[in-house]
């Protein structure tokens, strides 16, 4: 069985690409870091990969809006390739800046199937850059990246963003997300109850922290699982024993799925 191939797409200003690359490698994928320009000039082909990872950070300095410039570049040259990639059942994951890009591109939530922008990640309601640990609850583990989690499980993950307030275009889009259970991760307090600030760090509608498309192969989320792949990268690792980091199972779920499928 060959290892699935994963591309971590970067450009100026992205970060965590090394964490994503190492997480994918250590979960069993054959990963590489690829600059967006190599896809634009066809030096690399998206079709040669099974997973596309859009990393966090501040692509193009987050000027205009977070993720707007990278999303516009993808829209100009690569969007059809990415839409076919998703239609083929291949996997796309975008934490933080990657989530902002997936929303801008219309890959999420895409409730109408038209690949149009149906939502936004606006500035945090606190008007602050929120960089800390938060709790999220897994609402639906049908998403390929969440198969190794139990529904109702509470995860402790790091966040670091200024623009994470999830807003839908209208009530209809929000209702579709909830009806189809695409709100796979919600901000909660330590007891697992949906609560306001600071538990919901940005003021997102319905405490939405992560969205997965209906097919289950595109995940966007504000927290950073790639930053806590190993136990020693968790903020409280000296107090809370050994084992894997909280982000490990996101990558293992995806890689095992790809090994079965491709």
């Amino acid at each position: 069985m060959k290892n699935p191939r994963a591309a971590v797409m970067t450009m100026e200003g992205t970060n965590n690409e090394m964490e994503a690359y190492l997480s994918l490698i250590h979960a069993g994928a054959n990963a590489e870091i690829v600059h967006i320009k190599k896809f634009e000039n066809s030096e690399k082909k998206l079709g040669d990969y099974d997973l596309l990872f859009l990393p966090g950070g501040f692509s193009a300095g987050d000027y205009i809006r977070a993720g707007a410039i990278m999303a516009a570049r993808i829209k100009a040259k690569l969007i059809r390739d990415i839409e076919s990639f998703v239609d083929d059942g291949r996997l796309v994951m975008g934490p933080c800046n990657g989530f902002q890009i997936l929303i801008e591109l219309g890959l999420l939530p895409n409730t109408e199937g038209k690949w149009e922008t149906e939502a936004a990640l606006a500035q945090n309601i606190s008007n602050r850059f929120e960089a800390r640990t938060i709790y999220v609850k897994v609402n639906n583990n049908k998403c390929v990246f969440l198969k190794k989690f139990r529904e109702g499980e509470i995860l402790k993950l790091p966040i670091a963003h200024m623009e994470g307030r999830f807003i839908t275009r209208d009530e209809r889009v929000l209702n579709e997300i909830l009806t189809r259970r695409m709100n796979v991760l919600s901000y909660v307090n330590r007891e697992g109850k949906e609560s306001g600030y600071p538990w919901n760090p940005n003021g997102s509608m319905m405490n939405i922290a992560g969205l997965c498309n209906e097919k289950g192969n595109v995940l966007g989320l504000m927290p950073h699982p790639e930053r806590v792949f190993y136990k020693v990268t968790e903020s409280d690792w000296t107090r809370n024993g050994t084992g894997e980091g909280m982000g490990y199972r996101f990558f293992l779920s995806a890689v095992e799925h790809m090994k079965e499928k491709f």
């Binding site: 707007a68 922008t117 606190s126």
Partner: protein
């Protein structure tokens, strides 16, 4: 040479967190009459030649997200 002035603001329905911080800061300076502040960005774009329609394309392709933003395009210069 023509230039476009493009103003991007949050829709009225979207809470403006930065604007609320400015309200608080101005009140702390003693301006009790402040009722609300809305923030935005203004882009001044110089062109070789161009039209207001092109400015609208800049809005839809890059400068605004239609879910949360309003984008006003003005053409000035000669």
């Amino acid at each position: 040479m023509p230039f476009l002035k493009i103003t991007v603001t949050l829709k009225k329905s979207v809470e403006d967190a930065e604007g609320q911080s400015v309200v608080k800061a101005l009140k702390l300076l003693g301006y009790e009459n402040i009722k609300d502040v809305r923030t935005g960005k203004v882009y001044f774009i110089e062109l070789e030649n161009g039209s207001i329609e092109e400015g609208r394309e800049f809005c839809s392709k890059l400068l605004s997200n239609p879910v949360i933003n309003e984008c006003k395009v003005e053409l000035d210069g000669n």
